[in-house]
């Protein structure tokens, strides 16, 4: 009798185990929570957490709750590789993050070998040109954004010369290499080309260089904290020419850190909680309520990354890692199909995105959208 009870219990336990395992799907977010990318990474992570909470509250993906794990890369390419490998070894369904382009380039071969989709926040043009079918962006690439910026400087600001300030990492070098030919095409002269370092604290010398170049506008392509420091240094040195940037320069964190020095900054933004898109604004309110600060574009990227996973999984109606990447490639996700994607997003075959974007300006410490730009391939 006792033996039969034990056998029954054992059978029940064995049969229950797969059910318990099936209740969750594991997602690992490999992200910059310290180091130079802490601001971008923390926003991305919080966006991911918000999406996971929303999805789990509504029953999860195909009935499974999401189990989210975050690994801090410390903005270090070596650590990122190790974290992506660990994520793969631990059976993540898809890899989320990182945001910085250098660590993405250093780690994406690992997810490619494992045939697992890696959905990242990077904007450098290079990493989607390497024929990796498992890498996916959550934002426009520099290749899509820079022609819009150059045209804006020429047509709206009437700039004939521009000072270019960039950060000497994959993100900054990629941006610089994309903007220079665009400026040249439009006949805009580069008055001074200033390279700065990731994590640089003192921008006084760079601001003086820019001031003395006397260009019609200043194109600033730095990471968040460095953007804020540069804006403050430029104000200190009395640089009074328009500061133009791409998304980062106009981000909420940069505005918060730079204070008054951010006022007047202009440029192109791919994602913004201030954009005239009700779903973005709704996201912004939820984010503010949960984390007590305003999300920047990286928060939106993290949120959309999880919803890309959800949409792809529900589309293929199963949890197939390779199938997820196959489903996402070439897809157009519409908010009518998946409200969490917030805005119609086309994923190109190489992992680049196409979607509407915006021109914006910082006024009185707030980002104000001045124009909505259409998709490149409407």
């Amino acid at each position: 009798m006792r033996l039969s009870i034990l056998a029954t219990l054992a059978a029940a336990a064995l049969s229950a185990a797969p059910v318990a395992a099936q209740e969750k799907v594991k997602l690992i977010n490999v992200i910059e929570l310290s180091g130079a990318g802490a601001t971008a990474g923390t926003n991305f992570k919080n966006g991911v957490d918000l999406a996971v909470a929303d999805i789990n509250a509504k029953g999860g993906i195909l009935g499974r709750q999401i189990e989210i794990v975050h690994y801090d890369t410390q903005t270090n390419p070596g650590n990122t590789r190790a974290a992506v490998q660990r994520a793969i070894d631990e059976g993540t369904y898809a890899v989320l993050g990182p945001v910085f382009s250098g660590p993405i380039g250093a780690s994406m071969q690992i997810s490619q070998r494992a045939e697992v989709a890696q959905i990242v926040g990077g904007e450098a043009a290079g990493f989607t040109r390497q024929g990796n079918p498992y890498i996916f962006r959550t934002s426009l690439s520099q290749a899509a954004a820079m022609p819009k910026i150059a045209a804006y400087m020429k047509n709206s600001l009437k700039a004939n010369s521009v000072a270019v300030v960039w950060v000497n990492n994959d993100f900054g070098k990629g941006g610089r290499d994309q903007i220079l030919p665009e400026l040249e095409k439009l006949g805009i002269k580069v008055a001074v080309d200033v390279a700065t370092e990731q994590g640089q604290a003192d921008f006084a010398a760079d601001a003086i260089k820019v001031k003395n170049a006397n260009a019609d506008a200043v194109f600033v392509y730095l990471n968040e904290e460095e953007s804020a420091r540069f804006l403050r240094a430029a104000k200190q040195q009395g640089v009074n020419k328009p500061m133009v940037g791409e998304t980062t320069l106009l981000g909420a964190k940069v505005i918060e850190l730079a204070g008054d020095a951010a006022n007047g900054a202009k440029g192109h933004v791919g994602l913004s909680v201030d954009a005239p898109v009700p779903a973005f604004q709704e996201f912004g309110k939820k984010f503010q309520a949960k984390f007590n600060y305003a999300s920047d574009h990286n928060g939106l990227k993290g949120y959309m990354a999880v919803y890309m996973v959800k949409w792809g999984t529900e589309k293929q109606k199963k949890f197939d890692k390779k199938g997820l990447a196959d489903t996402l490639r070439g897809a157009t996700i519409k908010p009518s199909e998946e409200p969490g994607i917030l805005i119609e997003t086309t994923i190109e075959a190489n992992g680049d995105l196409d979607r509407i974007s915006f021109l914006a300006e910082v006024k009185d410490g707030k980002q104000v959208i001045t124009e909505t730009l259409p998709k490149l391939k409407p």
Partner: protein, 316 residues
């Protein structure tokens, strides 16, 4: 696609006397003032190295973190205690001086110094990690805005744009250092402190309260670090990792100026700040860190006691 190569080194090596530049001297002076402002901060931190060296014959490898932490404590006081900023500055600085002036001496220096200077130096390395990671985990890994109490305007004088904030940093830091120099050389208490630094055994025989003098030195070090923190954080933003750069440059400044002289630390800080600024301007931002290190090597080879230091001999 057209790609443009970075400026060649020759083009970047534009020196101020070359005639093909517009307003070269004005530009040079702007770099000089910016360098002096940063250098004044390095000097404040470098004095900490000299003070600790004089009283305990060791190097405080947490000196950079001593400059980083007061700003974090100020922001934490404002955030967690809900204090207005002026009160938060007061509370943060007093808390820092108690913890890392009084507490540093009592908890780390006193127990460790009995085992020699090397264990103490290693203890300060550990302390720097604890301070950095503590600030990161206990407050934030992200940079935080820190209010400036100095004017933010720019004035133009003789064709040169001058940041009033930079001028104010130079003035405040130099006044603090000159005040310290006057205190050390011109007051009875200061001379007792100096005597303690030079020979604590003889000072004790002469009736000087050596223990109090050493404690006073550590409190002054903490106070100067807090001042440096309040001055630099509006520019660098308050972040747990700020101490790495400041500590390194202050260490170089202390060696360049002379580890055993306050005036040496002042001169070393200003020299390193100016060289850093000029290197960023006329050579490359990528190599700006290397130039002060080259200076450090040259000083060690040519004048190991530093530009203003005095040679010391030690019996072992």
């Amino acid at each position: 696609m057209v790609t443009r190569q970075p400026e060649p080194l020759r083009a970047r090596l534009r020196l101020p006397f070359l005639v093909d530049q517009e307003k070269p001297m004005a530009e040079f002076l702007a770099y000089l003032i910016a360098g002096l402002a940063t250098g004044a901060i390095y000097a404040l931190a470098a004095i900490g190295f000299t003070l600790v060296w004089q009283t305990s014959q060791t190097i405080n490898f947490a000196q950079g973190e001593f400059v980083m932490l007061p700003a974090i404590l100020v922001l934490a006081s404002a955030q967690f205690l809900g204090l207005p900023m002026a009160m938060a500055v007061l509370v943060g600085i007093v808390a820092f001086i108690l913890l890392f002036g009084f507490g540093f001496k009592k908890v780390i220096v006193d127990p460790m110094i009995r085992h020699g200077v090397l264990p103490l130096a290693i203890a300060t390395m550990a302390l720097s990690i604890v301070m950095k990671e503590g600030a990161k985990d206990g407050f934030s890994a992200e940079a935080q805005r820190f209010p400036s109490f100095l004017p933010a305007e720019t004035i133009t004088f003789a064709g040169i744009s001058i940041s009033l904030q930079h001028v104010a940093i130079i003035v405040v830091a130099c006044l603090a250092i000159l005040g310290l120099q006057w205190f050390v050389t011109g007051t009875r208490l200061g001379r007792q402190m100096q005597a303690t630094a030079q020979n604590p055994n003889v000072a004790l025989i002469l009736g000087i309260p050596v223990a109090q003098m050493v404690m006073l030195t550590f409190l002054i070090n903490a106070g100067l670090a807090a001042l440096a923190s309040v001055l630099i954080s509006p520019i660098y933003l308050a972040k747990f990792s700020n101490g790495e750069v400041i500590g390194l440059f202050a260490f170089i400044a202390a060696i360049v100026g002379g580890f055993n002289q306050v005036r040496g630390a002042l001169a070393g800080g200003l020299i390193v700040g100016v060289i850093d600024s000029l290197a960023a301007a006329y050579i490359s931002t990528s190599y700006r860190l290397a130039v002060p290190l080259v200076l450090l090597v040259v000083i060690i080879l040519v004048k190991p006691e530093g530009l203003f230091g005095r040679p010391e001999e030690r019996r072992v």
